[in-house]
């Protein structure tokens, strides 16, 4: 063998780099048969390399004292490769090659939990947990837990469904408090007591390690402190909502203060603004933190004359009471009654 000196190896590092492996310097045998003996690329990590591996197909080019290997199909991002270079005395040097992908997937984190207020009524019905990336289903009951302030987990807080309640893109999980724990006088309520008791502190925890749907990331642990407040036993009352009329001709934000926290997703599309001629006023609604108010900025300046605020009677508060009916009737009362 000729003396190869101390050649330098240059490998691509990202998907944007040309897919070429360069062995620079050192004298390379002119024998074309021996090219893949000087320089070859194999699938797999250096640990898994063995001499019977089939080298990646490609062509060799000579540029002076440089030998280049160009793979027939390029390299695949995220796939482990190992570059084998013949050193002195026939020994082989192995160098890892792994292309970084242009876009690395964002890590899995909890981005929001609703209700977002510090205080929830003790008869709260549902929580929404939002994730940064789609998550692996069928694991919610293992990872989502309610704990008391002293750290005792209550594994019977939430309903366990065969089919978990995910948004279509699997980034939003709906966690339902077992209605049997909420409804006064039914069996689980009597046996286990309510899940939340007014005045007590709780921790809603989403444990770390929950794999994202594509398996590329594991959830960072998340927890939020919650205090149970007075139960919501009455239907929402729009007469107790407060707002300050914006001036016509301006695009001032209208803010409506509610009489209680409302269900975050029930608020979507539940409130509309209409001008006196019946046309719907286009604009951007927002729901400030704690879901106890709703704001709206019109696309065009507010029209003169009366503006009507219409509210869907399907709108539910955080305890599941809608403008139509109460979720939980007092024990001993007759069948469900509707206030409107």
């Amino acid at each position: 063998m000729p003396d190869l000196g101390n050649p330098r190896l240059v490998v691509p590092e990202t998907v944007d780099d040309p897919p070429v492996v360069r062995l620079i310097g050192g004298s390379v045998s002119p024998d074309p048969v021996a090219e893949d003996d000087h320089l070859a690329v194999f699938v797999g990590s250096a640990d898994s390399y063995h001499a019977r591996r089939t080298p990646v197909a490609g062509r060799y080019e000579r540029w002076g004292t440089e030998l280049r290997f160009v793979p027939a199909f390029g390299f695949v991002a995220g796939q482990d490769y190992v570059v084998r270079v013949r050193g002195a005395a026939g020994s082989h040097r192995l160098t890892a090659l792994r292309l970084r992908s242009e876009v690395s997937a964002p890590p899995a984190v909890v981005t929001a939990v609703y209700p977002s207020g510090d205080v929830v009524p003790e008869n709260v019905l549902r929580f929404y947990v939002h994730f940064s990336v789609p998550m692996t289903p069928h694991l919610a009951s293992q990872f989502v837990t309610l704990r008391t302030a002293s750290g005792v987990a209550d594994h019977a807080t939430f309903m366990r469904f065969k089919q978990e309640l995910w948004s279509a893109d699997r980034t939003r999980l709906t966690v339902l408090v077992d209605p049997g724990r909420i409804k006064r006088g039914v069996a689980t309520n009597l046996d286990l007591g309510p899940a939340f008791t007014e005045g007590d502190q709780y921790v809603l925890a989403v444990d770390g390690g929950w794999p994202s749907a594509d398996g590329s990331s594991q959830l960072q642990a998340f927890s939020t402190r919650i205090r149970a407040g007075a139960p919501l036993r009455e239907q929402p009352d729009v007469r107790r909502w407060r707002w300050w009329p914006p001036r016509p001709g301006t695009r001032t934000m209208l803010e409506i203060s509610f009489d209680r926290p409302f269900d975050r997703h029930s608020l979507n599309g539940a409130i509309h603004m209409t001008a006196s001629d019946g046309t719907v006023i286009a604009g951007t609604p927002t729901v400030p933190s704690s879901e106890t108010s709703w704001s709206f900025t019109p696309d065009e300046p507010w029209p003169a004359g009366e503006v009507y605020v219409s509210v869907s009677d399907a709108l539910e508060d955080v305890a599941g009471n809608s403008l139509r009916e109460l979720l939980d009737q007092p024990p001993g009362s007759s069948t469900s009654s509707t206030a409107r």
């Binding site: 197909a57 027939a72 199909f73 695949v76 991002a77």
Partner: protein, 381 residues
């Protein structure tokens, strides 16, 4: 005039007698004919045997094992090198590749850009959008049945290729009402091609079928004329005289055999004791060895020859016709070709390990005894 078309998919393969490799391209709706030189091997070659050939091909193409799909296999008539068509999946794209296995078992990627090529674009080719209907068995469709609803019909547009006497025969689905068709294209490609719609009576299903395509075929001399012997899924064998393959014709193939439920994979002609035979492999039955001479004078049947109603595997009339004999074949022979007078070569899914192995099998039966432990395997027996 031949078209110039870049290959987008390497599917069905066959060779001309002179070593032109024909490749079915289901994505472009074309057949590519590559002039593939090859020298006769020296006599002292060791029969090829490569375990985990799919892993070796994945290594060659620079991807993980799950990122290759093997589509077909053919043997160069002169060099006896084995050509395998592959789909390489990587970086959100699939690319065609043809891998050559030399007689010394060395694997290499065929540089098709360096080969002289002619392409023939196929008329009446199915679009890529239409997919199969969903069908279950027993208690309704399972998820694996529902997945069939995502398979494009175009994937069956080129099922098998057969070269005979200057003509290339192409079986598959043509666009018009998804009819089973036989194309006949003379080589060298001159732009002329004929498309013939093929209907046949299916004994097992007791109906006349015109959509499901021929899966495997071979041209044989039967009743004094060259005829196409063609195998369908679930699994009739039919005869089509070559002179009936006229452009625009709708023909009724002559049903002479029904082997029963299952899907034929390959039909490989060979000789046993000087007699021409067909070796017909299947994804769910033992391969069938069918004497070609038994097909001459065979009765072509219609629905009038049987009681009406489906005739599944356990029905007394099944299997029907001059079927020859089923033979032992250990594992699933996913792709099969004739290597030479002595050997078949197969890509076989091993029954015990699940490995996909390239190996040779004598053209005598039984021919795969390596996983059997019988009386004769004991010392002194």
């Amino acid at each position: 005039m031949a078209d110039v078309v870049d290959m987008a998919f390497a599917g069905a393969l066959t060779f001309s007698d002179e070593g032109v490799l024909f490749v079915g391209d289901n994505h472009k709706g074309a057949i590519h004919g590559f002039e593939t030189p090859g020298a006769a091997p020296s006599a002292s070659t060791v029969p090829v045997s490569i375990r985990n050939i799919d892993a070796r091909i994945a290594e060659l193409l620079g991807v993980g094992l799950g990122a290759v799909e093997i589509n077909d296999m053919a043997v160069h008539p002169v060099s006896k090198e084995i050509y395998i068509s592959v789909t390489r999946i990587g970086g959100f794209a699939s690319q065609p590749a043809i891998v050559r296995v030399a007689v010394d078992q060395h694997l290499s990627l065929v540089d098709t850009s360096s080969l002289a090529v002619q392409s023939q674009v196929l008329t009446e080719f199915p679009d890529g959008e239409t997919t199969f209907q969903i069908r279950g068995s027993g208690g309704g469709p399972l998820p694996r049945d529902i997945a069939k609803g995502a398979v494009a019909i175009r994937s069956l547009a080129i099922m098998d290729l057969e070269y005979h006497d200057g003509d290339l025969f192409v079986a598959g689905v043509a666009y018009d009402s998804f009819r089973s068709s036989l194309r006949r294209i003379s080589y060298p490609f001159d732009g002329a091609q004929s498309v013939t719609a093929v209907e046949m009576y299916h004994i097992t299903h007791d109906q006349y079928e015109s959509r499901a395509p021929i899966r495997a075929m071979s041209v044989q001399q039967i009743d004094g004329q060259p005829q196409l012997v063609a195998a369908y899924t679930c699994s009739p064998l039919v005869l089509v005289p070559l002179d009936e393959l006229v452009d625009g014709a709708q023909i009724s193939a002559r049903t002479i055999i029904d082997m029963g439920n299952g899907q034929p994979l390959d039909m490989v002609p060979f000789e046993m004791d000087g007699e021409p035979m067909l070796f017909v492999t299947n994804n769910s039955r033992s391969p069938q060895v069918i004497p070609v001479n038994g097909l001459s004078g065979a009765t072509a049947v219609t629905h009038e020859d049987f009681e009406r109603g489906p005739k599944l595997d356990l029905h007394p009339v099944m299997p029907f016709g001059p079927t020859g004999k089923p033979v032992m074949f250990e594992g699933v022979p996913l792709h099969m070709a004739r290597l030479d007078d002595e050997y078949f070569v197969s890509l076989t899914r091993d029954a015990y390990t699940g490995d996909l192995n390239l190996d040779v099998n004598p053209t005598a039966f039984p021919n795969r005894i390596h996983n059997l432990f019988a009386e004769m395997d004991f010392p002194g027996a």
